[in-house]
């Protein structure tokens, strides 16, 4: 093997890596929060008594679940602005639209998986719980908020954490619409130095640290959510 490692380039271009990392964290964190909110709302809507609300929710989920993320990103970034009035277009381009488009793409795509997890979680709660809550004079919303969701959270957390991890890894696709996140910067270092091995090894290690941190934090959240209930099977 003729390749001579030169790990020093990483130190030389540390600013690029750091900027990429910060942007990846920003992009993932915002999308995680938004996709959790949107996903929960659509998950609950899929169980609505109203057929119309159920239809809206399941079309949303089926549509975005079954198209590739990269197509969705391209759509939000390249296609959508064409349909907008000129002043809005220029406002978007002036306001970092590549970042906004990738947040929209990641949020919508991930929210479909979260919606499915939330729906399954709610459905797994015994019917007697709902009945007992309603019979105690709770309103439909109070029943959901105080009785059903707190119990569903425990069941929903593990699959949702998987989606958080997927989202963090999927955020690397944002480089295709010119968001200078971690993968984009690794690629940049490679083209500046021809040190592809070092650059992508660094990116890989950083992604692993990120996902491990998320798993660790969410493990704590999961233990908190399980209060009063049987511990999860290990």
């Amino acid at each position: 093997m003729d390749y001579e490692f030169n790990w020093l380039v990483l130190w030389e271009y540390r600013d690029l890596l750091l900027e990429g990392l910060v942007l990846t964290i920003k992009l993932s964190a915002i999308s995680i929060v938004l996709s959790t909110i949107v996903g929960t709302i659509f998950g609950i809507m899929r169980l609505s008594k109203s057929l119309i609300i159920r239809l809206i929710a399941s079309s949303y989920v089926e549509f975005f679940l079954n198209t590739p993320l990269i197509i969705q990103l391209f759509f939000w970034y390249f296609a959508l602005p064409m349909a907008l009035p000129g002043w809005l277009q220029s406002w978007l381009w002036a306001h970092n639209y590549e970042f906004i488009a990738s947040v929209i793409g990641l949020t919508i795509y991930t929210s479909t998986f979260i919606a499915e997890a939330v729906r399954a979680g709610i459905q797994s709660i015994d019917k007697g719980q709902r009945e007992a809550a309603l019979a105690s004079g709770l309103t439909g919303f109070q029943t959901l908020w105080y009785v059903i969701l707190p119990q569903a959270i425990r069941i929903v957390i593990p699959p949702v954490v998987n989606q958080f991890l997927n989202l963090t890894k999927n955020s690397s696709l944002a480089m295709t619409i010119a968001v200078p996140e971690l993968t984009y910067q690794a690629q940049a270092i490679e083209s500046l130095t021809f040190r592809g091995f070092e650059a992508f090894t660094a990116a890989t290690l950083i992604y692993i640290c990120l996902t491990l941190t998320i798993s660790l934090v969410m493990g704590k959240v999961e233990r908190w959510a399980a209060k009063g209930q049987r511990p999860m099977a290990a």
Binding site: E131, A132, L134, A135, S136, G137, L138, Q142, P150, Q229
Partner: protein, 370 residues
């Protein structure tokens, strides 16, 4: 008071009504048992009273008000609801579970805590130990008590109970039934109680509504149901051994015999002659403060005298195996006696021996009541 007037419930997609033209009244402060095989409409009937299910036609009045004119949320806060143990919220402590309705009613925190503790005391759970535990830390019987406490939290005049003790083992069930009857003596709620267990119905009910295929077959007191079943269906439901079922209706008080009570300070010879004079084979012993110490058979005293043991009456007295209350049913007394392998039970209340029961006295009481 609860009134049902020609209440019918048809579920969509079904030709046969689940509840068909049902009319009856439940007087204030009484326990009405809805009993019948599964699918007879008893649970549907109960759930229509708090509007968990809306009747297809007919009218239901609670304390004179047509419930279809009341906001369901408001209505349900005035109707306690007990279901099998699954109804407790697992993610809330016992205190939070009981406080659900008072919290919605925005009672001050202090009043809520006071009420929670009062209720836990009432159902026989020490608030200091149990109030801040989670349901999974409690046994089935304890959870069921919490369920009853929760339903009573805002002191509703009416309570609905859906097979509330169904998930308990027989011994725990009979214990909690007795406690519940004792609580009901004090609180006098109007109660609708659903069960498929005819023994439970006979024991707990002031009135029993026997249902079949959505219709009322008989509505009468437990005694009438036993002695005068309306038709073959009720007769079969009650079963062949109606005499034994009657044991659920009779209380210790009715079958109790007097017992000779001896002072623990008297000599063994005096004790023996007192028992001879009374013709008693067994006597209760009380201490100088009048507290019950135990029972002693005459044979044991005779043996001690014959061998001139240096002993006292209190030392010879034994704690009896079967101790019951005045309002225990004869059914429960008999099963306890059989479990302990004893032919006698002793009635002790407030540390005083009130009397005793033997197999003979129970048989006699039942046959006199036929």
């Amino acid at each position: 008071m609860i009134e049902l007037q020609s209440v019918t419930k048809k579920y969509p997609g079904s030709d046969i009504p689940a509840v068909n033209n049902l009319s009856f009244e439940i007087p204030e402060g009484e326990i009405c048992i809805l009993v019948g095989p599964s699918g007879c409409g008893k649970t549907t009937t109960m759930k229509m009273i708090n509007r968990l299910i809306v009747p297809t036609s007919g009218k239901i009045k609670v304390n004179g008000t047509d419930i279809s004119t009341v906001n369901p949320i408001e209505l349900r806060r005035n109707i306690g609801y007990v279901i099998q143990e699954i109804g407790l919220f697992p993610h809330m402590t016992i205190r939070e579970n009981i406080a659900i309705v008072p919290t919605e009613l925005k009672w001050p925190k202090k009043k809520i805590n006071q009420r929670v503790e009062e209720l836990l005391d009432l159902v026989g759970l020490d608030p200091a130990i149990y109030a801040d535990r989670y349901p999974r830390d409690l046994s089935g019987g304890q959870r069921q008590r919490v369920g009853v406490a929760r339903a009573m939290a805002a002191d509703p005049p009416v309570m609905l109970m859906d097979e509330p003790f169904g998930a308990l083992d027989p011994i725990n069930r009979s214990r909690i039934q007795n406690e519940f009857l004792r609580i009901q003596e004090k609180v006098r709620k109007t109660i609708v109680f659903v069960t498929h267990d005819i023994d439970e119905a006979i024991k707990m009910g002031d009135r029993i509504a026997v249902m079949r295929q959505g219709s009322l077959v008989q509505y009468a007191s437990p005694g009438e149901i036993l002695s005068d079943p309306a038709d073959e269906f009720v007769e079969n439901l009650v079963g062949k051994n109606r005499t034994i079922k009657r044991l659920n209706l009779l209380k210790v008080e009715e079958a109790m015999e007097d017992i000779l009570i001896l002072d623990s300070t008297i000599s063994l010879a005096d004790a023996a002659s007192a028992m001879d004079k009374a013709g008693a084979d067994i006597a209760a012993v009380k201490d100088s403060q009048g507290r019950f110490q135990g029972v002693v058979p005459k044979k044991r005293i005779r043996r001690a005298l014959a061998r001139s043991w240096q002993t006292t009456l209190s030392e010879l007295a034994d704690e009896p195996d079967v101790v019951v209350d005045l309002d225990t049913t004869l059914h429960d007394v008999l099963s306890e006696m059989m479990q302990a392998g004893e032919a006698a039970a002793f009635v002790v209340e407030a540390n005083q021996c009130r009397g005793m029961l033997t197999l003979g006295s129970i048989v006699e009481t039942v046959s006199n009541n036929e």
